[in-house]
Amino acid sequence: MATLQLKQITKRFGDTDVIKGVDLEVNDREFVVFVGPSGCGKSTLMRMIAGLESATSGDIVIDGARMNEVGPADRGLAMVFQSYALYPHMTVEDNMGFSMRLAGVPREARREKVLEAAKILQLEPLLDRKPKALSGGQRQRVAIGRAIVRNPSIFLFDEPLSNLDAALRVQMRIELARLHEELDATMIYVTHDQIEAMTMADKIVVLHDGVVEQVGSPMELYHHPCNRFVAGFIGSPKMNFLDVDLVRSGLEGVSIRLPGGEACTVPVDGSRLAVDSPLELGIRPEHLQLDDQGPLTGEIRVLERLGGQTSLYVQMGEAMVTLMTDGDVAHRVHDKVRFGFEPRRAHLFDAETLALPSLHQHPLAGLTRHDNRLSSTSGCQ
């Protein structure tokens, strides 16, 4: 069992509040990803969990025990650093066995444990090498091996893949997912890369300016973002936002007037809206379709052909809208196009940039990567 609770955690550096009251629950064997733009406090939050940084206020509870005053080595955690932080003058074996050496474990027992971890990570042929003789991916694996050897209740990963090239990153992503399965461990992972978050997480925690914006499964965040920030941060290319006028809100949803003048009803709960309140429509590029009868129109300014897909950047008055379309679309730059969307795919955001709750739950929204386990502590904060 390895669980973690954060209760009203805050952190101040001098006069700046870096973390402004974070509540979080991490369940046993969960893969939790902290994601957010740089400077949002995600690394600080992880360092506080690790014990490398003290919390200004709030409780850090690991397996039911308050750990605020416990040193980093005694919390039963292991951390993998972005820079790997391998000890350059020690061999791979000594790097991995360092914690046991400090704990006074005899050499044979150490070797046995290191070999066991090396086997999981296919590091056996490299045990006698020094870190400088290893490639980036191998160093990464040694850093993970050093964590495995400690047999931690929770693994912490601080942007572990950001120093690797794109191909290796995909490979390590798969390896980490496999490792999570194999070790059956609780893992917390910090990244700014929303693709890493979407592909690996059971639960994503979106942080922004030291505040948790939303906690939920990847599909929940994608289909039911709480607010404009989460909607814009999750998904690539970024969601399009258009200013629209409220016509009326009723039982079947909220009727709006689109920039072209046409009306449309989005199935969200608009009961809290006041008359004439400003609204913003959010629609993902992959949910916009070219359609000669569509309600929206504009001029293609940039066209990016990826082969399988084509991204169109369409000028609509003041606004620039992105469309992801089929790779075989024959349009050219400066063509005028009409396009539309399914109303149930759209999101509406009120003046406080909060999303209006959808009337229909997306069928995949509650599912995690292991589809038998439902995320228990998710929702908007």
């Binding site: 690790a50 014990g51 490398l52 040193g71 980093p72 080595a73 005694d74 955690l77 292991a78 951390m79 650093f81 972005q82 820079s83 790997y84 932080a85 391998l86 000890y87 350059p88 003058h89 360092f98 914690s99 400090l102 704990a103 050093r146 400690r150």
Partner: protein
């Protein structure tokens, strides 16, 4: 790769050589002329008090020197001086570097103060130590001793070599500190934190992380200090003049005595040759050691 390089060298060889020639010639003259003259004089009968006695002396100068107990005493003094100063500056410099790497109020000023002795001229610092610190009646050290009710120490007559070692170490400690502090700053903070996560306390971090990281810088400090410490002169000249007896006469000071007090240039030159040989033996070991460290 090697082939093209080699052929390039032959094609441009003459031109390269002609461009290098002035610098190489100057350096050779700079080194070879004094060396040649020293060697030449060391085989000559050449005493300034006896202008009539000249001519080839064979190995007489060397024989005289090697049978003189002063030479062996001077060699021992040189090694003791170099060894102790190195030990004090390297150990002290490492510990101070770790200390000054910690965050504390006024750290910048403290660093400058700690490094400043290095900017004081050797003669001046020796005079300050002689007249203001170690003076048996006016010195700060004797005042400290007396205020604790202890007998004041007459440093330069009771502990002459120790006094010289203290003065020289005081001068060279900042140099070691400066180099090691710079090296400390390149220590990856993540490594220290990883070690903390692995359960290392401050002492374990020092021995397993900091010291291996500083290894290279320490070997550089040892090499550079060694070169200068073998030829320490001003501090001895100003304070003890090599005495009492021969207690603080090192090789450099012995050569000075022979050449400019005894006016025996021939024997002094023979001493110079011995000093060159000694320095080269030390240098070969050092260069090997440093080169091995730099390879890592």
């Amino acid at each position: 790769m090697n082939k093209t390089r080699a052929s390039g060298r032959t094609v441009g060889g003459l031109r390269t050589l002609s461009l290098q020639a002035p610098a190489v010639t100057l350096l050779l003259l700079w080194m070879l002329v004094p060396l040649g003259m020293t060697l030449w004089f060391s085989f000559q009968r050449y005493n300034l008090l006896m202008p009539g006695m000249t001519g080839f002396a064979g190995l007489e100068n060397y024989e005289y020197l090697f049978t003189d107990p002063a030479l062996w005493s001077a060699m021992g003094t040189t090694l003791l001086l170099v060894g102790w100063v190195l030990a004090i500056t390297v150990v002290g410099g490492t510990l101070l570097a770790v200390l000054f790497q910690q965050e504390f109020a006024g750290r910048g000023i403290a660093r400058v103060l700690a490094i400043s002795p290095f900017f004081v001229m050797p003669t001046v610092s020796a005079l300050v130590w002689k007249n203001m610190m170690m003076h048996p009646s006016n010195g700060v050290l004797s005042w400290v001793a007396e205020s604790f009710g202890l007998q004041a120490v007459d440093w330069f007559s009771a502990l002459p070599l120790t006094s010289i070692i203290i003065i020289v170490a005081w001068q060279w400690l900042p140099f070691a500190l400066l180099i090691l502090l710079t090296a400390m700053q390149s220590l990856d903070e993540d490594q220290v934190e990883a070690a903390r996560m692995d359960g290392a306390g401050p002492v374990a971090i020092f021995f397993f992380i900091t010291l291996p990281h500083l290894k290279r810088a320490i070997s550089v400090v040892i090499m550079i200090e060694m070169i200068f410490l073998l030829t320490i002169f001003a501090e001895i000249f100003v304070t003890t003049s090599g005495g009492p007896g021969l207690a603080t006469t090192n090789l450099a000071y012995l050569i000075y005595i022979r050449a400019l007090l005894d006016f025996d240039v021939g024997t002094a030159s023979a001493g110079g040759v011995i000093a060159i040989v000694l320095a080269n033996i030390v240098a070969i070991f050092l260069v090997r050691m440093v080169a091995r460290n730099l390879e890592d």
